[in-house]
Symmetry: C2
């Protein structure tokens, strides 16, 4: 039951961190949200930093697992890219608040964890890069600046947490499909 309470606290922290940022959220405010006093939070968590780590690596590890899986199973590059986008979008949409924290608040991790986080992010970036490389080798993607393509794709998926509304009519798999179409074929009509 301690774990259950801890989870509730992490979820509430997520909400606050997404709204007001890690530093902008005080333990007293967070406690008030939970109907507790600040000191009582420490029965369940080690420190404020702990909360941030939990959230950042929670999302991070899911993303890593997803990209590794896509690159393990063989598909052609287009299928790989579509799967990767689909997984990414679904992870973000399943918890847009945690994803916001993942995107914006990781820099407030302590030095050790920040390095770990950057390594993780590079690993993910590398996973996406491999997909692009596969596509160029298979001659189905245009040759060009790989890194630029990767950054651009990642920007579109990461930005989703800024506007996604779980109560809106656009569902995650629809978003993933549209995004994949966009990334693959662009805005221009094929004539």
């Amino acid at each position: 039951m301690v774990d259950r309470r801890r989870t509730q606290i992490v979820e509430m922290a997520c909400k606050r961190f997404a709204e007001r940022g890690f530093i902008g959220s005080s333990m007293r405010d967070l406690a008030a949200d939970m109907g507790l006093e600040a000191a009582s939070l420490y029965t369940y968590i080690k420190s404020k930093d702990d909360l941030l780590e939990d959230i950042c690596f929670g999302i991070g590890n899911k993303l890593i697992a997803a990209i590794d899986e896509v690159n393990d199973i063989y598909f052609n590059a287009e299928e790989k890219l579509r799967s990767a986008i689909k997984n990414h979008v679904e992870i973000i949409c399943a918890d847009p608040e945690a994803s916001k924290v993942f995107s914006h608040e990781w820099r407030h991790l302590n030095d050790a964890k920040k390095n770990e986080f950057i390594t993780l992010r590079n690993h993910y970036e590398q996973g996406v890069t491999e997909i692009i490389e596969t596509g160029i080798t298979e001659q189905i993607f245009v040759e060009g600046d790989k890194r630029f393509a990767v950054l651009t794709i990642l920007s579109t998926v990461n930005w989703i947490s800024e506007w996604y509304n779980p109560k809106g009519k656009m569902k995650p798999n629809e978003i993933a499909q549209k995004l994949a179409d966009f990334v693959l074929t662009g805005l221009k009509k094929q004539t």
Copy 2:
């Protein structure tokens, strides 16, 4: 000469806000960067909030001026979109730190200024939407979810400040061109 000093302070604040966030940056740290005591900053600025407003609306107003200009002068939709992207990329690359603050720290504006900011951002979004609409009317862009296209385009331009390095080899106009190509024609080879 007061103005000159003020500008230096705003520029330094920009750097700190971009690195550590608005709330994560203390006036004492900022003052130390300037070789001053915290209290001395108040000779040049009204408040800490003042600094954030200056930075956010500095970038915001430039973006608005740029999109309005593009929509005023007549081009076909593709030219309009390319110009808009070029302007946006150039504004961001001219001051990536201020752009980071613009993207991430606006939520810490006070309520009045935050509303003003959101209005400004909606205005910009509307400007981009008009370009997409023009393209659909001219039958050169694929019909589809306009809002989705706009958000996706904005995500790619806004993300540039996260990775752009003024000392790197990729120059703003090159970035703008690649990005416009990407947005227009996507990753897939035309066959």
